[in-house]
């Protein structure tokens, strides 16, 4: 029996509501006991030889969960591999990540999904996947949802592209509803964004770049909510729509109203969207190019507001590695996306907790319990006794500067080199194994 003790830490577990000093006992990869300091001494069979982590002065929280990452394997391993991407995840405090299907080939088959999830890929943390909603993510024929769910799919998405056609999206929502999983939508009306490389507005005009209007996001969200409503009324099913990386006030307003109406909609926000605005594009910095793009200040504030009022269910990074030679090109030609696994916690802590007064418990809920709920995980995202021993230990008060050269990711494409972060990971534990522990 393997055993580990985490002693003297300040436990913050949104799942159980615990917010105080606790010791944690891990046995065989599960949380075996959570007690006030000293309370574990009475537990029978506790070995004096079991490994101990002194977490004094640190927060002990459920391992973070990111339901939106691009790990680039198979087919794009010059950008990232499952091993390097999950190593970056561990360094960022994440113990579960959900891989998007836009690999080469697209992850749209049981064989592809099994290959991706196989132990041979060397994942450092829990790896889950959302396969493609449509074959090849071409937006026409649904992939085999039932077979893929049996093989472990936690949802379906054509991420990178929207499911554009009304009838295809309706069919996807219906099929997913029958299986109890979400359809995760990249909300972009691509009929409005051809040739665009940043947010529409004054900055884009000044830079001479074609801009994506905020309506491109809102229109798809509004269309999808309309489909949810129709299906609920006509089919007596309750489909679950998850909206990825929401970046505009208008889309957030639509989601807020839909939640009030009782529709089953959830959504995520990316750290860069509540941290930066379109001004960060500066002189055509391709490391500030992603899709959806960085928006205007009013939209950034709307994302923060929606995180504070509960409209946003979870933080997801949209970790999107690209090789430097791919980003060191003309802005319009550069691929979309930035890496984000190692800066998410520090940005959320700085911006949401410190600058906007969000309670630590709420910040961590957005990164553990709530993303777990979105994809239906019962035994992760909490430190309740019996759960998987996925734990992050971090110093919530440490101010530090991120250095991209230290990144575990194979790619270094992000606009946060040298950025000020709050809260530094001291250890990440996945199913009872220490998967990240920098030398202090």
């Amino acid at each position: 029996m393997s055993e580990m003790l985490i002693l003297n830490g300040y436990l913050v577990d949104p799942g159980s509501g615990i917010d105080g000093l606790r010791d944690v006992l891990i046995q065989d990869g599960r949380i075996a006991a959570v007690e006030i300091p000293g309370g574990l001494a009475s537990i029978a069979g506790l070995h004096a030889t079991s490994s101990k982590i002194d977490a004094a002065g640190c927060v002990v929280a459920p391992g973070l969960i990111d339901i939106h990452v691009h790990l680039r394997e198979p087919g794009q391993t010059h950008k990232e591999t499952i091993a390097t991407g999950t190593a970056a995840a561990a360094a960022g405090g994440f113990t579960t990540v959900v891989a998007m299907p836009n690999t080469t080939p697209v992850n749209d088959s049981v064989a592809g999904l099994q290959w991706m999830l196989a132990a041979e890929r060397g994942p450092v943390v829990n790896l889950l996947a959302m396969p493609a909603a449509t074959v090849g993510s071409l937006g026409c024929d649904l992939s085999d949802f039932a077979a893929l769910v049996r093989a472990g799919a936690v949802g379906f998405t054509d991420d990178g592209k929207p499911v554009l056609e009304d009838e295809v999206m309706r069919a996807a929502l219906l099929a997913a509803a029958r299986l109890g999983v979400p359809v995760s939508q990249h909300a972009e009306d691509t009929r409005l964004t051809g040739g665009c490389s940043m947010n529409a507005g004054r900055v884009a005009f000044r830079l001479g770049l074609r801009g994506m209007p905020v309506e491109a996001e809102a229109r798809i969200v509004e269309r999808d909510l309309h489909l949810l409503r129709e299906i609920e009324q006509a089919e007596r099913l309750r489909p679950h729509l998850h909206v990825q990386h929401v970046s505009t006030a208008r889309a957030l307003d639509a989601i807020r109203r839909a939640k009030a109406e009782g529709l089953h909609v959830t959504c995520e926000a990316a750290p860069h969207h509540f941290t930066l605005t379109e001004d960060a594009v500066g002189e055509y910095d391709t490391n500030a190019k992603m899709n959806p793009p960085l928006r205007a200040e009013a939209d950034r504030r709307a994302v923060i507001e929606a995180l504070l009022d509960g409209t946003v269910d979870c933080i997801a990074t949209d970790h999107a590695p690209h090789a430097s030679h791919e980003k060191e090109v003309e802005f319009e030609r550069a691929p979309n996306g930035i890496t984000g696994l190692e800066t998410a916690l520090g940005l959320a802590m700085r911006v949401l907790h410190r600058e906007h007064g969000m309670q630590l418990l709420r910040v961590l809920a957005l990164m553990s319990a709530q993303p777990a709920a979105v994809i239906g995980l019962k035994e992760q995202g909490t430190l309740r006794v019996g759960s998987f021993a996925d734990v992050v230990i971090f110093d919530a008060a440490e101010d530090w500067k991120f250095a991209v050269k230290d990144s575990r990711s194979k790619s270094k494409n992000l606009p946060f080199d040298g950025a000020a972060l709050l809260g530094r990971v001291r250890a990440t534990i996945c199913e009872g194994r220490v998967v990240y522990r920098p030398i202090p």
Binding site: G194, G195, A200, G201, R202, V203, A204, F205, R206, L207, G208, L209, R210, G211, T275, L276, T277, D279, A280, G282, E283, Y284, D285, H325, E328, V329, E330, F331, E332, R333, K401, P415, F416, D417, G418, A419, A420, L421
Partner: protein, 344 residues
């Protein structure tokens, strides 16, 4: 600090604060060689005055002395888009200063085989180019080339973004024809001058360059065109810019009108009603007759006779179109010498 500089500094501080980074990193300009001419935004009024002064000195010099200024120096012209005026005038300007020039175009070079802009730039540098004049269809490409090569880069037009030497030659043309001193400028030089820029402003790097430079010298800039070619977001280019959709009303107050070609190659599927555009925005003799007889007519070229401007107006006595071309040669000599660190 000027208003504009203050605004820029505030904007940069804002971004820096958001992501906790210093402005030079946020603006990504720390690696650009001095002497580069990427955007009029990077030029202070004093820089503009310096370029105009050098233009005047080079013009007065006798040809033999001028031909020693860049003797033995190498300048590469890298053209990814077709060009008549800009390419020829940069080439003639460099040669008149004694420089060796080499022209690389996207056709008939390894660019056709997929060589990147970065590798093309590094190749030119390895072959001895000391500065690169770049024309490219992508906005921001000149900035990229400057960063990756570390060489002075002269932006001869990047996508819809900037064409700074065009704004400088337009400025010199205006000063000349208004009878003002062409050897210097300050922030009040163009006080009382109203410039109306008309047509396809959305796709025009010339419009952006002029609209972002001339108000800083005191000019009033009025933009004119239909919403499809002139969105409200254009007002963000500089303080004090105005939009007037009615061309006749705009002309009533204009000292200078700058016409722009509709850039069919950049319309991206957008279907413009040409007949209506001509009716509302063409500069023709009727409109000239209704305007001040002193109205100056400019056009960066190429002109499409019968579309944005009639042949009679383009060839008429108030047209500065050929003068602009001649001034291009003079101004480009100065920016080339400046790029190579030569004070003439």
């Amino acid at each position: 600090m000027t208003e504009r500089a203050k605004r820029a500094a505030t904007r940069e501080a804002g971004v820096g604060q958001l992501c906790g980074l210093p402005p030079e990193i946020v603006r990504n300009t720390s690696l650009v060689a001095a002497g580069s001419l990427l955007s009029v935004e990077h030029l202070s009024v004093a820089d503009v005055a310096g370029i105009l002064a050098m233009t005047a000195r080079l013009e007065r010099m006798d040809a033999a002395a001028r031909a020693r200024i860049l003797l033995g120096r190498t300048i590469a012209l890298l053209f990814y888009e077709s060009s008549t005026r800009t390419r020829t005038s940069f080439e003639l300007a460099a040669k008149s200063l004694g420089a060796t020039t080499t022209l690389v175009s996207d056709k008939s070079s390894s660019i056709e085989k997929g060589e990147s802009l970065k590798d093309t730039g590094l190749t030119l540098r390895a072959l001895g180019a000391e500065a690169i004049v770049l024309r490219h269809p992508s906005s921001g490409s000149a900035s990229l080339l400057a960063r990756v090569t570390g060489l002075p880069v002269l932006n001869a037009g990047d996508g819809m973004h900037q064409h700074p030497s065009q704004a400088l030659l337009d400025l010199r043309t205006i000063l000349l024809r208004l009878g003002r001193d062409v050897r210097t400028v300050d922030d009040n030089t163009l006080h009382g001058v109203t410039l109306v820029i008309t047509g396809d402003i959305l796709h025009s790097r010339v419009a952006r360059s002029n609209a972002m430079l001339l108000p800083r010298l005191g000019a009033r800039v009025v933009l004119c065109g239909p919403p499809e070619l002139l969105p409200e977001s254009s007002l963000g280019m500089a303080e004090g810019i105005e939009i007037e959709r009615d061309f006749d009303r705009a002309l009533a107050c204009a000292n200078v009108v700058m016409m722009l070609r509709i850039q069919k190659e950049r319309l991206a599927g957008f279907d413009l009603d040409l007949a209506e555009f001509i009716a509302r925005y063409q500069l023709n003799q009727e409109r000239m007759a209704a305007s001040s007889p002193k109205l100056l007519v400019m056009h960066p070229g190429p002109i499409i006779r019968g579309l944005e401007i009639t042949g009679a107006v383009a060839d008429g006595p108030q047209s500065l179109i050929e003068e602009q071309v001649s001034q291009g040669l003079a101004v480009r000599r100065a920016v080339l010498a400046r790029a190579l660190g030569v004070i003439a």
